[in-house]
């Protein structure tokens, strides 16, 4: 894996973009890497879309703002439009094809459409399409191991919601199978 690794996760408020980023960041922490997580904030959030950037590195991270991501997880169309041009050549895009009909419009990156919202409804995983996409990202990038992600989910899910842990793991596995 590359020395540094960065991801942007973006979607509507409530789709779990920030949580997905937190799970990814925890994976980096568990793997012993330098990590940072940085959200959109202020009026940028008022438009209904949220995003965060996560970075891993072997040396201390400078600015936590991700401007050239290796990977983009786009959960809705505005997010794809906003960030697609920032993805580095050779980078990867995971998008929710249930909600996004537009084309990525680039041939120097790999695009992985996942009908995540549809699948989450069909498979009894309502509300965690984001985690299905995370599973797909894990499969396509190998940025960490399944064991690490499992532990990262455990750390990210608040105590009072721990009953949702198994749900999340099933969503990861589903994403990895696609």
């Amino acid at each position: 894996m590359a020395k540094s690794f960065s991801v942007i996760i973006a979607g509507y408020g409530g789709q779990g973009a920030l949580f997905t980023g937190k799970v990814i960041a925890y994976a980096g922490l568990i793997d012993g890497r330098e990590v940072s997580w940085f959200p959109s904030y202020g009026p940028e959030m008022r438009g209904g879309t949220v995003n965060c950037g996560v970075q891993f590195d072997d040396e201390p991270i400078g600015s936590p703002v991700v401007t050239r991501p290796d990977v983009l997880i786009a959960m809705n169309e505005p997010s794809l439009t906003k960030f697609i041009d920032q993805v580095i050549p050779g980078g990867k895009v995971i998008l929710d094809s249930t909600l996004i009909k537009a084309e990525a419009g680039r041939d120097d990156i790999e695009v992985f459409p996942v009908p995540a919202s549809q699948l989450s409804n069909d498979e009894g995983l309502e509300g965690i399409a984001n985690i299905i996409m995370l599973g797909k990202m894990l499969k396509e990038t190998g940025f960490t191991t399944f064991q690490t992600i499992e532990e990262a989910v455990r750390k990210s899910v608040p105590e009072r919601k721990i009953h949702l842990f198994e749900h999340n793991i099933r969503a990861i596995k589903l994403g990895m199978s696609l």
């Binding site: 990590v35 904030y41 201390p60 600015s63 936590p64 750390k155």
Partner: protein, 352 residues
Amino acid sequence: MDQRVLMKGNEAIAEAVIQAGCLHFFGYPITPQNEINAYMSKRLPRLGGTYLQAESEIAAVNMLYGAAAAGIRAVTSSSSPGISLKTEGISYMCGADLPGLIINVQRGGPGLGTIQPSQADYFQATKAPGHGDLKILVYAPNTVQEMVDVVFTAFDLSDKYRVPAMLLADGILGQMMEPVQFPDQKPDIPAKPWATNGTKGERAPNIINSLYLVATELEDKVRERFVRYGEIEANHSQAENYLTDDADVLLVAYGASSRVAKRAINAARNQGIKAGMLRPVTLWPFPKKQLEAAAKNAASILTVEMSMGQMVEDVRLALPDRKVQFYGRTGGVIPTPEEILEQIKALGGGVK
């Protein structure tokens, strides 16, 4: 196993404040520090403390003044425009020798400016956080972990010297999540025999006051305070030396911009340029001695800030015989490592 947790900078500050034995928070909403208020409003009432959303930053800082007078650890938090309003209370706290913590999660200015991160409040924090002859302790951490660490030191020294302390962060440090571990440390709060917590019939009344109608009395009081400032300057400046031992190009940067500068230094080293950095952790007291030592063998000196150049004036004052270059971005723009590397390269062949 790694015991660290991921936490937003603002929430980490709030938790550190609580762990430092401060259960009274007085604030007013302003971006990018709102997570501090939110965290405090959730935790403090359940700990028997006070979360009070004041009617203004002015009221909030004066509540801090009152709580500090009563002898407890207390805190207020804001961002740049709100800190301007708090300068009244900070000056009164200095004039009345009251300890307390003021958090500034900086954003760009002047005016309403921007909510993006900035370091343009250096002058305000270090030179004139209020009217009059005064100083406050100013801590400028550059990681979420260090924000936690300095909260404890800031409270301790503020109590010890009866001088208010400021934690000067910015939108980057406040908003970002990084791994953090809280020190396994119980707060050690000194007795405050001067507090206005009731005479209990055991002592003469205490008066907390900053008014001296006789000029010579005020002069004596200010001079006494400056003796304490001198002790702080002699004993409590803090800085990090990063690859300064053999540095030809010495960068001076603090807070968020020092993170980016470190990346640029590593890149320069990979290209054979011996770059290093002196990073002030305390902005007042400014780490003059550490800077002098670090600059001794450096051929060139470059100060990097997210402002039009404020700390650079202190760098020049500390190194009067040296040419000190400056590179900055302002208005909420964060410099890139590449931009800074270009500056380092331009100086890399420079002579002393």
